[in-house]
């Protein structure tokens, strides 16, 4: 049986270096979930529109379901599993819990990681900026209100109600 060609892939994920061999057609999402067991990133739409597959590469949110694993060669990647420091949750994780911004939780890793990149670039975004920046992350459960409030709380604007 002919085996497909594999390519070397060096990835630093949540601070840990992995040396893998992968087939070219495998997406970063597949490799994270299937080869590294990091199932925080999800496959929702499979076409980069729902955001549930979002991870952070070089400070930028990346839709990993439409990103080849090989495109990430040599890069440092942060997944939701890498956000907490030891037992301390990231402020965004804490705020999502405290503000009731999680229902089924499927969109949550992508929401939090995307929000993390927003706040890294812009400490106090306005509500409309938050909503616009998260326009690539869809939630079927919450109606977004509490997600926005959680992000605002971390941004220091406080709860708007």
């Amino acid at each position: 049986m002919k085996r497909s060609k594999t390519y070397p892939l060096r990835l630093k994920v949540n601070g840990v270096v992995h040396k893998l061999r992968v087939q070219a057609h495998r997406t970063l999402l597949e490799v994270l979930r299937e080869d590294l067991g990091l199932t925080g990133a999800k496959e929702g739409c499979g076409r980069g529109e729902c955001g549930s597959c979002t991870v952070i590469i070089g400070g930028r949110p990346v839709k990993s379901c439409i990103f080849l694993a090989l495109q990430a060669e040599g890069e440092a990647i942060t997944t939701i599993e890498g956000l907490a420091q030891e037992k301390t949750l990231d402020p965004l994780q804490r705020a999502f819990i405290d503000h009731g911004a999680i229902q089924c939780g499927f969109c949550t890793p992508g929401m939090i990681l995307t929000a993390r990149t927003l706040l890294a670039g812009r400490a106090t975004p306005r509500e409309e900026e938050i909503r616009d920046y998260l326009s690539g992350n869809l939630c079927r459960c919450t109606g977004y209100q509490k997600i926005v409030q959680a992000i605002q709380a971390v941004a220091g604007e406080g709860e708007k109600k």
Binding site: Q23, G48, T54, R60, K63, F67, Q71, S135, N137
Partner: protein, 292 residues
Amino acid sequence: MSKIPRFEFFAPKSIKEALNASAKWGGDAKLLAGGTDLLVQMKQGTIRPKRLISLHRVRELNGIERMDSGLKIGAMTPLWDVEHSAVVREQSVPLAMAASEIGSPAIRQVATIGGNLCNASPAADTAPSLLVSEAELSSQGKEGERRIPVADFFRGPAQTSLGAGEILTSIFLPPLPSMSRSLYLRLGRKSKADLALVGMALVLAVDSDGKVKEIRIGLGGVAPTPIRAKKAEELARDKVLDSSWIEKVAQQASEDSQPISDIRGSADYKKAMVAALVLKGLRQLSSLEERP
């Protein structure tokens, strides 16, 4: 969503390496920029290349440079960087506005301007802005470097004038006419992730008598390629744009377009929307016109 079909992969470190690979493999290979269009199409099965040449390591293709003759934008520059660049916002408002309309922030931080152009959707958001800027595209191939006026770049849906083994390397944007105002307006369905239904880029310069000195109207999504509404432009030149002339120009722009009916809307609707966007754009740009 199906998996991406199998292919072979190569990531060159320089333009030279990319050209060699492209020349060697010819039509078997497609260039991969950000992948936000190409990989979706490969998942859908509409494109099935045997090989991908990924340009993500070719650093010299990424960057925005101010030059004496205008702006130079590398083909691999992410749309997010184009959108937020101070020099693009200063020198090419329609391009900054167009870039900001594409997909979502996450998509724009991976998707590239070169990819948007080479994917050559008739609705490509960056195209009308480049048309009204009368930009030049630079490509490299076996015969060396070639400059292509953007008006000659698009040949049809998903077809560009790039030859086998040619790689788009940069976009050169001359400054817009002095004393001009410009914008890009987009009409789409609810989700920005969808293609533009109609995209309209407008440059307007008016002289001290209020007469139109220069007008350029670029349209996307309403013809087999992005186009300029030439007859509308001719109609507007030297006129003082009162509301009746603005309506006539918008109507002519609509007649200059040749949209098809598809899942996004009927041809009649799209034609009406061309007029609506041109009307809106002209009103915005002429009402705030400062007399020099």
